[in-house]
Amino acid sequence: MPRTVTQFERLVHRHQDRVYSYARCYLSSEADAQDVTQEVFLRLWHHVDGVEEDRVLHWLLRVARNACIDVLRSRRSGRALFVLESDGLDDLLDLGPGPDTDCEHIDFQDLLRRALERMGEPYRSILILREIQDLKYEDISEALDLPLNTVKVYLHRARKALRDRLGVTEYRENA
């Protein structure tokens, strides 16, 4: 692990984009993503002895995820983030204008972004890391501290939930 500032600097340059991008997607806020990125790397500097060299990225993503969750908690207290009991996908049923309203003007990508924002943990993290950051299942499993099969199951459920919700929109667009 980095013992010197120069070694640490190399790690920052290697991983900063991934951490920032994750936080940016997760929080949909540039300012919050910047704060989270700084916080994550400063924590790495303070815990250099406790992190193995080949697991730095996993460590960074895990800390970034926790920092993002803290930001969301402070943004909306009282709203459950870890909603695994209700499967964390219920919110997707209410993305604003539904199929019965005039939604042709709604951009598919906007809707997708909103769906992602409303997704609970760990679905949101898994989708970001897999679909946007193109991380391997093994890396996602390490980063989120979840068994590999659990990651696959969660990803399948998250994709299905998105399909079910956005498929209606797409159907209306095509109609």
Binding site: V5, E9, Y20, T37, I132, E170
Partner: protein, 158 residues
Amino acid sequence: MSEHDWAEGRLDDYLDGVLPASEAERFVRALQADPVLDQEFRTADRIQRSLRSFSPASCPPEITRAILSTVRAEARRSRQQRLAAWLTALWQEAWRPALAAATLVAIVVLSSVWPGPASRPIDPQVAQATAEVKWTLAYLSEMGRNLLPENPEPQNRR
């Protein structure tokens, strides 16, 4: 299990490109035969492509600079604190007796090397006076010795 259920269960694998070739062919046939499944596949494909088009953002350079300047400042502070702690330990702990011994040795060495007070040149008048005093004393001593009888006789002898 219906063909629809079979294909739906493999939709993710097909999207990820990990479905074996034989199953992939069967999956494609199922799509062609099942409009509902085909629609679901198109939606899944569109979602995946859209998510991948959320181009990963680059970390702004000012954030990198802020991180590194904070870390550099902390490293500098940490070095100073370590140095101060080392010096304190040097004075207070194990080095104290060694330091005392070294000081003692230094004093001994310096005192042996250091030149002593230079001998003052004697004033010639003082030297002459000293010599005269010595000669005078020697003369008086000789005179005294000559005045004494060499073999003094006992007083009752006539």
